[in-house]
């Protein structure tokens, strides 16, 4: 029996699954918004705004969920500040320590971009905020840094799981990659759903759907590689969790791709399935290990 099967579960349950999913959405939507902003056309700006508007509330929710999940929520700040010396608490080789800092810094960028969008849309009238617009140099710097941090927030959760000794999590190095790609597919799906709901259409939406389609193919390849990298340990998925993973692959990747292939503008069904698939993927990874001895 592999040595990872002699360990104890950290009891990371639904709140952590929710954090992994919401963190992926927050980081991913900011990342997509920034890249659309840098490389897209001016008529994509409503989608860009959507990405930035989504990211900040989601990252706030992430902080809340993580705090509630702690055994001592009132000590959440111990992640950032040493409780005895009041010096910054940073551990370069602890993904959770770096993740806490990344989440804080990302939240800062997401906030600045959030108010910049409010100003750009005329909902906040304060001339100084124009500097924060992604079209201004300062705003552009904020969004580029934010996109890198968003990428980190979306993917470090998989690395965090790998840097344990638990079965499945510590038996592969591909969880960070899988979570990152899944974060991109689910974020694109969320922006598509919200874009369609708020009446955005045209080439920007089609580009986003093209991106989501490509990322779904990458996600499929990442999951196949993940299962292959587990080797014989993947046998632990010969149960309900494995069935759920297969359902996720079929319903959250294959079906949305099929729908998009049949109808270039597919409506909300495909993206909603992608979002559900993102939740199921994280639930399978977290719970299937949690239930092992």
């Amino acid at each position: 029996m592999p040595s990872t099967f002699f360990t104890a579960s950290p009891h990371w349950r639904w709140l952590i699954v929710a954090y992994f999913f919401l963190g992926g959405l927050a980081g991913g939507s900011y990342f997509i918004a920034t890249l659309m902003d840098l490389f897209g056309k001016t008529r994509d700006r409503r989608l860009v705004h959507l990405g930035y508007l989504i990211a900040f509330p989601l990252v706030c929710l992430c902080g809340l969920v993580l705090t509630v999940d702690l055994g001592r929520p009132e000590r959440f700040w111990h992640m950032l500040i040493q409780s005895e010396t009041f010096r910054p608490m940073v551990k370069a080789y602890s993904p959770m320590s770096l993740g806490a800092w990344a989440l804080l810094c990302f939240a800062g960028c997401a906030f600045l971009s959030f108010i910049a969008v409010l100003a750009e849309r005329g909902w906040l009238r304060w001339p100084a905020l124009r500097q924060l617009s992604p079209l201004a140099p300062v705003g552009r710097l904020v969004t580029v840094i934010g996109a890198l941090l968003g990428c980190y927030v979306a993917g470090y959760t998989g690395v965090l799981l790998a840097v344990t000794n638990r079965p499945i999590w510590a038996d592969t190095s591909l969880l960070g990659l899988t979570f990152l790609i899944s974060a991109a597919s689910t974020s694109a799906a969320l922006v598509i759903v919200l874009g369609a709901w708020s009446g955005v259409s045209g080439e920007g939406m089609r580009a986003l759907e093209r991106f989501d389609g490509s990322v779904l193919v990458l996600e499929f390849l990442a999951i196949v590689a993940l299962v292959a990298s587990l080797g014989r340990i993947a046998m632990v998925w010969l149960n309900g969790w494995g069935v759920l993973l297969a359902v996720m692959v079929l319903g959250g990747i294959a079906l949305p791709l099929f729908v998009r292939w049949r109808r270039p503008i597919s409506g909300p069904i495909g993206p909603v399935l992608v979002l559900l698939g993102g939740v199921i993927l994280r639930a399978v990874i977290v719970f299937s290990s949690d239930q092992l001895p």
């Binding site: 099967f5 002699f6 055994g71 111990h78 080789y93 959770m96 990659l177 990152l180 986003l208 990458l218």
Partner: protein, 260 residues
Amino acid sequence: MAEPMGFFTDTTVCIGCKACEVACKEWNQLPAANGGVRPLSGDSYDNTRRLDGIHWRHVKFIEQFSADRRQGRWLMMSDVCKHCVRAGCLEVCPTGAIIRTEFDTVVIQSDACNGCRDCIGACPFGVIDINPVSGTAQKCTLCYDRMKVGLEPACAKACPTESINFGTIADLKKMAQARLGQLHHAGESRAHLYGTDEAMLGGLNSFYLLVDKPEVYGLPPDPKLPSRNLKSSALWSVLGAVVLALTSVISFRNRGTHDA
């Protein structure tokens, strides 16, 4: 720094009295589970079952019986935190609550821990868990408070058969080698030491004399540090980020001519 201290547990003389468990709970004022009403395990005389946040010592009963119950063997092992020289829990702890003491032991400072539980999954031995009363991760401290005033840990003091030996690591290793030689001389060729080799997490400051494979005692055959996956996982993630960035650039730039 004081000399490294630890435990040598000779499982061959453990009688499963659980005096160490009781002494540990009493000295460290660990609460009872389930209001003191502990459900019976139903498949063992051991009802503690595992180490957790309120059981820092656990005497494992390994009950090996044939199907017809004619042949049987009992193995007993008082399990505890291994106080690894290279400790996985200490590596991942994001709050700095887990420290290495002047005795080379590993201690969780309950007043600094915020109960994130990262250390639980990182421990290669499944030693740590949450204490439901404090809401923090807890485990054996090797009675740090007693050591500070020159006392031996409560479990070692209570052990009636000297299965649990406390002392400097150097002395304990000598004692373990002598006992191993004695057992081998007596014909117990299966006897071996677990945790004395520095290849295992730099050496365990709580090591064991076993008479079967480590797995039989619920010990991992090849415990590793959680950080072994850090570099490879990070590199794959960076590669993923680059691929995603390229995919997005291609998707967002290559538009149909009607978009011009």
